[in-house]
C-alpha cells in the first residue's frame, strides 16, 4: 500500500483494475486506492502476472502492507504460491511503489519443506459456521494416484459428512498430515499432493508447523492449488486444439476451403467435436454456432468476418467473467451482444467454477412457512380448478419470421410478451370461442373484449397483469401498457381490474429452457396458452441443399375448459395461431 500523501496512514482499496491471473505490463494501472484526499491509480512497475490479491475491494490496508503479489516473468508460480501458503504471517512479496518483488524473502516454514512441485490440501470450510473438521476417511492411500475431480477424503463437519474432491492437476498423494479420525482447524494442511511419483518419498514424515494456516483459505477451494493457472483456463468451448488434428466433415472442409477459413479456428459441434458445415457457416457469420437458442436472434444482419458483434460493456463483462462472447446470442442492434445478454448468459449458468461439489452453497430452508396473501389466493384458485374438466392440445410453431419481427419492434419497447399477446389476439379474432368461458347458469359466456392476462412470477408469488383490448391497440401502446403493468405488479400496486379481467391467459417458461409444459386454468378463464422455449432443430426440406434446413421452433400448449371449448376448437385455433406467428407480414402491424 503506497503512501499517496504525506498524511496518509492507511488506504482503502476502492477497485482492482485487474484480476488474479491476469497478465500485467509495467505502467498498467492495477488498482485504485482511496486515500484521505484523493483516489489514485496504482501502477505496476514490472511485467508479470497478478498472482494473488491480498486486500479485497473495499478493504483497508495500512501504508506499507502488501496488497497483492505479482509474479514476474521468469519467476516460478509454485515458489510464490508456497510463500503465500507456507509463509504464514511473514511478508511475502510486497507490491508497493518499489519493484520489490524482484527479491522475495526466503520461505519460512515450520519444518523443512521438500522443493518439489506440489499442492497442499487444506481443511475446507464446509459450512459458514464450521471452524474445524474431522477426517472421517481417506479415499486415497499415501503414494496413491489422485485424479482431478476424484474424491480425496471425507470430512465430518459440525453439520454433516462431506466428500472433498481433489481439484488440482492429477498427481500423487505424497503425505497425509491428518489421519483418519483426527481433527484439525479449517485452513490447516491435511495432505500434500505432488506432481511426480518419485517425489512422494521426499515428503515422508513432513509435518506442517503448528502455526500453519493459509492466510485466507477460500472456503470454496479446499484444494486451491493454482488459482492463477485455473483462472487462466478458458471456460468456454475452445477452438480445436491448435496443432492437433482437425476433425471436420468433408463438406465442412470444402466450404471452409471455398471461404478461406482456417478450420483450426472453428469450434466443432458435431459428434466428438467434429466441425460441421453449419459450424463453418456460423464461423463465417463471425461467431461459432449458438449453443443456446432460447434467446431468439433478432437480426438477419451478418457481421463481417472477424467482427466481434458485442458492445464495449458486453466485451468487458465477458472478459471479466471469462465467458466466450461467441456462445451468447445477441439481442442488440444487428444481433449484437449487449451487456444484458452477457448478464443473462451468466445468470443461466451460475458460476459453476466457484460452487464446488459437496460444498453447500446455501443453507436450505426448512419447516413450515405460512402462505402470504398472494400465495393463499393462488392456492384457493388452483384448488377451484380441480372441478374444471380440462384437455390439452399442443402445436409447434416455426419462429424464424416472428423473431425477425421481434427484432424490428424491440427498439420501440415491444417485449416478447407483448408481441405474442398481439399474435394471440389476432388468432382469437377468428375463433371467439377461445375467448369465452363457462357460465354457471349453464352456457357459454362470450367476452367481446380480448384481454390477455400474462403470468408474471414475483418474489414469493404469481400474478397475471392484463393487457386490455389487445386486438385494437398498436404494439407500441401495448408495450407501454405492459411496462406499466409489470412495474405496478412488482410494487404490488395492481388494481383488481388489472389482474383479474383477463379473458385469455398466457404463461411462458421458455426463458428457462423448458421445451413444453401445460398450465392450470386460472378462474373464470376458458383457455391458457403455455409457451415453451424456442429451440433450433433440423427439419426435412425438399428444396434445401442437403435435404434439410435449420429452423427455430417453439412448442405451445393450450389448456381449455372442455365445457365451452372443444378439442377441435383448440386445434383450429392453434392452426390459426401458427399461421399468424409464422407470417407476421400479414398482420398489418408494424
Amino acid at each position: 500500500m503506497p503512501a499517496l500523501s504525506s498524511t496518509m496512514k492507511e488506504g482503502k482499496l476502492s477497485e482492482w483494475l485487474t484480476s488474479e491471473g491476469s497478465p500485467i505490463s509495467s505502467g498498467d494501472s492495477i488498482a485504485t486506492i482511496e486515500s484521505d484526499k484523493a483516489d489514485m491509480d496504482l501502477e505496476a512497475f514490472a511485467d508479470g502476472t497478478l498472482l494473488k490479491i491480498l486486500v479485497e475491494e473495499g478493504e483497508t490496508a495500512k501504508v506499507g502492507e502488501p496488497i497483492a503479489i505479482i509474479l514476474e516473468e521468469g519467476e516460478e508460480e509454485v515458489e510464490l504460491m508456497k510463500l503465500i501458503e507456507g509463509g504464514g504471517g511473514t511478508e511475502p512479496v510486497v507490491e508497493t511503489q518499489e519493484p520489490a518483488s524482484s527479491s522475495p524473502p526466503p520461505p519460512v516454514s515450520a519444518s523443512t519443506e521438500p522443493q518439489t512441485p506440489h499442492t497442499k490440501v487444506y481443511m475446507p470450510a464446509l459450512s459458514s459456521t464450521m471452524t474445524s473438521g474431522k477426517v472421517v476417511s481417506w479415499e486415497v492411500d499415501e503414494s496413491g494416484t489422485v485424479g482431478s475431480g476424484e474424491p480425496l477424503l471425507t470430512v465430518e463437519s459440525d453439520k454433516a459428512d462431506m466428500e472433498v474432491e481433489h481439484l488440482g492437476d492429477d498427481g500423487f498423494l505424497a503425505r497425509i498430515c491428518v489421519e483418519e479420525g483426527a481433527s484439525c482447524d479449517v485452513g490447516e494442511v491435511v495432505a500434500v499432493i505432488v506432481e511426480n511419483e518419485e517425489d512422494v518419498a521426499k515428503w515422508d514424515g513432513w509435518m506442517p508447523g503448528a502455526s500453519v494456516s493459509a492466510p485466507s483459505p477460500s472456503p470454496a477451494s479446499p484444494a486451491a492449488s493454482k488459482p492463477a493457472a485455473a483462472a487462466k483456463a478458458p471456460s468456454a468451448p475452445s477452438p480445436a486444439p491448435s496443432g492437433g488434428r482437425v476433425i471436420a466433415s468433408p463438406l465442412a472442409k470444402k466450404v471452409a476451403k471455398d471461404k478461406n477459413i482456417d478450420l483450426s479456428q472453428v469450434t466443432g459441434t458435431g459428434p466428438e467435436g467434429r466441425i460441421t458445415v453449419s459450424d463453418v457457416e456460423g464461423f463465417t457469420a463471425g461467431s461459432s454456432p449458438k449453443k443456446k437458442s432460447d434467446t431468439p436472434p433478432v437480426s438477419s444482419w451478418k457481421p463481417a468476418n472477424g467482427v466481434v458483434a458485442a458492445t464495449p460493456t458486453a466485451r468487458a463483462l465477458a472478459k471479466k467473467s471469462k465467458i466466450d462472447l461467441s456462445t451468447i446470442a445477441g439481442t442488440g442492434q444487428f444481433g449484437r451482444v449487449t451487456e444484458a445478454d452477457v448478464k443473462s448468459a451468466l445468470g443461466e449458468s451460475p458460476k459453476k467454477k466457484k460452487v464446488l461439489t459437496g460444498v453447500p452453497a446455501v443453507e436450505l430452508p426448512s419447516g413450515f412457512v405460512k402462505y402470504s396473501g398472494m400465495q393463499s389466493a393462488v392456492s384457493t384458485n388452483m384448488e377451484a380448478t380441480l372441478t374444471v374438466p380440462i384437455f390439452r392440445v399442443s402445436s409447434t410453431i416455426e419462429m424464424n419470421s416472428f423473431n425477425k419481427l421481434y427484432a424490428s419492434v424491440k427498439p420501440n419497447g415491444v417485449t416478447l410478451t407483448v408481441l405474442i399477446s398481439k399474435a394471440v389476439s389476432i388468432a382469437i379474432q377468428k375463433h371467439p370461442i377461445m375467448n369465452s368461458r363457462h357460465d354457471s347458469n349453464g352456457g357459454i359466456y362470450y367476452n367481446s373484449d380480448i384481454n390477455i392476462a400474462n403470468a408474471v412470477a414475483l418474489d414469493g408469488g404469481l400474478i397475471t397483469p392484463v393487457m386490455k383490448n389487445t386486438n385494437e391497440k398498436s404494439l407500441e401502446e401495448l408495450g407501454e401498457e405492459w411496462r406499466d403493468l409489470v412495474s405496478k405488479a412488482r410494487e404490488g400496486k395492481l388494481k383488481p381490474d388489472e389482474f383479474n379481467s383477463g379473458t385469455f391467459a398466457i404463461t411462458n417458461l421458455g426463458m428457462f429452457g423448458v421445451t413444453a409444459f401445460d398450465a392450470i386454468l386460472p378462474p373464470n378463464t376458458g383457455t391458457i396458452l403455455a409457451l415453451g422455449a424456442t429451440t433450433e432443430v433440423i427439419r426435412p426440406c425438399d428444396e434445401c441443399v442437403g435435404g434439410m434446413r435449420k429452423v427455430k421452433e417453439m412448442t405451445v400448449t393450450v389448456t381449455c375448459d372442455h365445457r365451452p371449448i372443444y378439442g377441435s376448437d383448440a386445434a383450429i385455433f392453434l392452426k390459426t395461431l401458427k399461421e399468424v406467428m409464422e407470417n407476421p407480414e400479414k398482420w398489418g402491424v408494424k
Partner: protein, 511 residues
C-alpha cells in the same frame, strides 16, 4: 457642501458613460476607403473584433458568409453545451445511489425525449445567433451577407453580389471546418462530424468516436448519459493526448472507466463506411498506426469523426496577395498581422485571427485575437498572451486548464533554468464538493519556485470550467502564488480547492 454633492453626481454620470466616451478613440475615417475595418467571417472572433472596432469608433463591416455566429455558436461550443446540460441531468437523475446519498428518491424511470433535447440545442444556437446579429446591427456594423474574398490590398469582393468593397484594414476570420481523415466517408447521418452529431438524429446503441480530444470527450459524455456505449479510436498511444498526463489519467478514471466506454489506442480508422440506421451498421477498419497492418474491424451504429479541425481558408483570395498557407493555416506575427508565409514578410493592414491562423483554436482565443488586432490597428501595440488563455472541456465533471501542462513545464523549467513547483488542491477535502456528493477531482497549480509566478493550472472536478478564471487572471497579471495564498476565498465554495493549492504552494495549510 452643495458643490461637493454636485461633483459626486457628475462623477457618477461619468462612471456610467458609454465606454467610447471614456476610451481613447481611434477613428480613421478616410474618404479613400469604404470602411476603416472589414472583417471576413462572423464567428466569435470576427464578432469580437467588430464590437471592439466599433467601440473605437471605426467604421466597420463584417462579411458573414451567411453564417453569423460561425462554428462556435451554430455547430460547436454553444449547442454542444445544450446537449451536455440535458444529458448531464439525465445522468444525474439516473444515478440512484448518488441521489440516495443526498436523500432523494426518484420513482420510476428517468426518460428523455431525444427530439426535444436536440431542439433545445437548436433553439439555443438560434437565440445566441440572433443576439449576436442584433448586437452588430445595434452598434451600426455593416453586415454583408456574402462571403468576403480578398481581391488585392484593401479590397474585398462579396461573393454574393460580386461587389468590391474597400477597407483600410482587413481582418481575416474565416474559421475552420471539421477535419475528415482520408478513408473516412462522412454522410452526416451515421458517420458524422461534430456538425452532424449536434443534430442528435438518433441515439445509437453503440457509437465509435474517432479522436479523444475535447470534442470527442464531450460527446462521449453526452452519449453515455443518454444510454449509448462508446468506443474511442485514438491514433496516438494514449487517450486525451493534448491533456496534462495526470489530468488525463484522472479523466480516464472519472470519465472513461466507470462508463460504457472502451478504446483502441495507436490505431487509425483507415476505412469508415457509413451504414443505414436500423438496416446496416457502419464499418470501421482499423490499422496499426505504426505498422499500418489491419488490426480489427468493428461494426457500430454510428461513427463520430472528431479528429480536429482544418482552416476554412480555401477560395478566399489569399493568392491575390501572394499568401502561402501551411495546410491552410495563415501565418501571422504576434500582433496577428498576416505574413506571406511562415518565414515571409508581414503584410500591412491585413490581419488574421481565430482558427484560421491555428495559434489557438478556441472561440475566446479568437475573440481576444480580434480585439488585439483592433488595438494594433489603432496603433496601440498589443500581443495576446496565449499562455493566459484558459480552456475547458465540459464533461461531467469538467476539465479546465490554463498555461503549460506539467510535461511542458518540466521541459521549460529545465531549459530556462528555474525550479518547478507543484501544489495540489483536492475536491475531496472541499466542503462544497462534499455537500454535492462530488468529491472526485483535483486542482494542481504549477509555478516557478523562484518567482512564485504561476505557469499552469489544471483542474478536473465539478465546475472546473468556472474555477479556472481566477488562475487565468493570475497568469495574465503575473500574480504570485504567495499573493494568491493571502487572497480571501469565499467559504464554503469550490474555489477553496484553489485556495488549498495556493496556500500549499507557500507551505501554508488551509482548513
Amino acid at each position: 457642501m452643495k458643490i461637493f454633492s454636485y461633483l459626486l453626481v457628475l462623477q457618477q454620470v461619468y462612471c456610467f458613460a458609454p465606454i467610447a466616451l471614456t476610451r481613447r478613440h481611434c477613428s480613421q475615417l478616410n474618404a479613400e476607403f469604404d470602411f476603416d475595418v472589414a472583417i471576413i467571417g462572423c464567428g466569435v472572433g470576427g464578432h469580437g473584433a467588430a464590437l471592439h472596432a466599433r467601440g473605437q469608433g471605426l467604421k466597420t463591416a463584417v462579411f458573414s458568409g451567411r453564417d453569423v455566429g460561425g462554428t462556435c455558436v451554430n455547430r460547436g461550443c454553444v449547442p454542444s453545451k445544450a446537449l451536455l446540460a440535458a444529458s448531464g441531468r439525465v445522468r444525474d437523475m439516473k444515478d440512484a445511489s448518488h441521489l440516495e446519498s443526498l436523500g432523494i428518491n426518484v420513482e420510476g424511470e428517468v426518460t428523455y425525449d431525444r427530439q426535444a433535447v436536440a431542439d433545445h440545442a437548436k433553439n439555443l444556437a438560434n437565440t445566441v445567433k440572433g443576439n449576436l446579429e442584433n448586437s452588430l446591427i445595434g452598434l451600426d456594423v455593416s453586415v454583408i451577407e456574402g462571403r468576403g474574398i480578398l481581391a488585392g490590398p484593401n479590397k474585398i469582393k462579396d461573393d454574393q453580389s460580386g461587389k468590391i468593397y474597400t477597407a483600410k484594414n482587413i481582418i481575416l476570420a474565416p474559421g475552420s471546418v471539421p477535419f475528415v481523415p482520408p478513408g473516412v466517408t462522412v454522410d452526416e447521418k451515421t458517420v458524422y462530424t461534430s456538425d452532424g452529431a449536434l443534430n442528435l438524429d438518433f441515439v445509437p446503441e453503440w457509437v465509435a468516436i474517432i479522436g479523444s480530444g475535447y470534442i470527442g470527450l464531450e460527446f462521449s459524455d453526452v452519449y453515455t448519459a443518454l444510454g449509448s456505449e462508446v468506443t474511442f479510436i485514438e491514433a496516438l498511444p494514449m487517450l486525451m493526448p493534448t491533456f496534462d498526463r495526470e489530468i488525463a489519467k484522472q479523466a480516464e478514471r472519472m470519465l472513461i472507466r466507470p462508463r460504457a466506454i472502451d478504446y483502441r489506442l495507436g490505431v487509425f480508422a483507415s476505412e469508415v463506411t457509413p451504414g443505414e440506421q436500423g438496416k446496416k451498421p457502419c464499418t470501421i477498419k482499423m490499422i496499426d498506426a505504426n505498422t499500418k497492418e489491419h488490426v480489427e474491424t468493428i461494426e457500430v451504429d454510428a461513427v463520430m469523426v472528431a479528429t480536429g479541425r482544418v482552416p476554412n481558408t480555401k477560395d478566399m483570395g489569399l493568392e491575390s496577395m501572394n499568401i502561402e498557407t501551411n495546410r491552410g493555416f495563415v501565418a501571422v506575427d504576434d500582433k496577428m498581422r498576416v505574413k506571406t508565409s511562415a518565414d515571409g514578410e508581414v503584410i500591412d493592414n491585413l490581419y488574421c485571427i481565430g482558427d484560421a491562423n491555428g495559434v489557438m483554436m478556441l472561440a475566446h482565443a479568437a475573440s481576444a485575437q480580434g480585439i488585439s488586432a483592433v488595438e494594433n490597428i489603432c496603433g496601440r501595440e498589443h500581443v495576446v498572451n496565449h499562455e493566459a488563455v484558459p480552456a475547458a472541456c465540459f464533461t461531467h465533471p469538467e476539465i479546465a486548464m490554463v498555461g503549460l501542462t506539467e510535461e511542458q513545464a518540466v521541459e521549460r523549467a529545465e531549459k530556462e533554468g528555474w525550479t518547478l513547483g507543484k501544489s495540489q488542491g483536492n475536491f475531496r477535502a472541499n466542503s462544497k464538493a462534499l455537500a454535492e456528493g462530488e468529491g472526485a477531482g483535483i486542482a494542481k497549480v504549477l509555478f516557478n519556485k523562484e518567482t512564485e509566478k504561476i505557469v499552469g493550472v489544471h483542474i478536473i472536478g465539478i465546475h472546473a470550467a468556472d474555477l479556472i478564471q481566477e488562475c487565468a487572471n493570475a497568469v495574465e497579471q503575473g500574480t504570485t502564488v504567495r499573493e494568491l495564498s493571502m487572497m480571501v476565498h469565499t467559504h464554503p465554495t469550490l474555489c477553496e480547492v484553489l485556495d488549498e493549492a495556493f496556500k500549499g504552494a507557500v507551505g501554508m495549510s488551509s482548513h
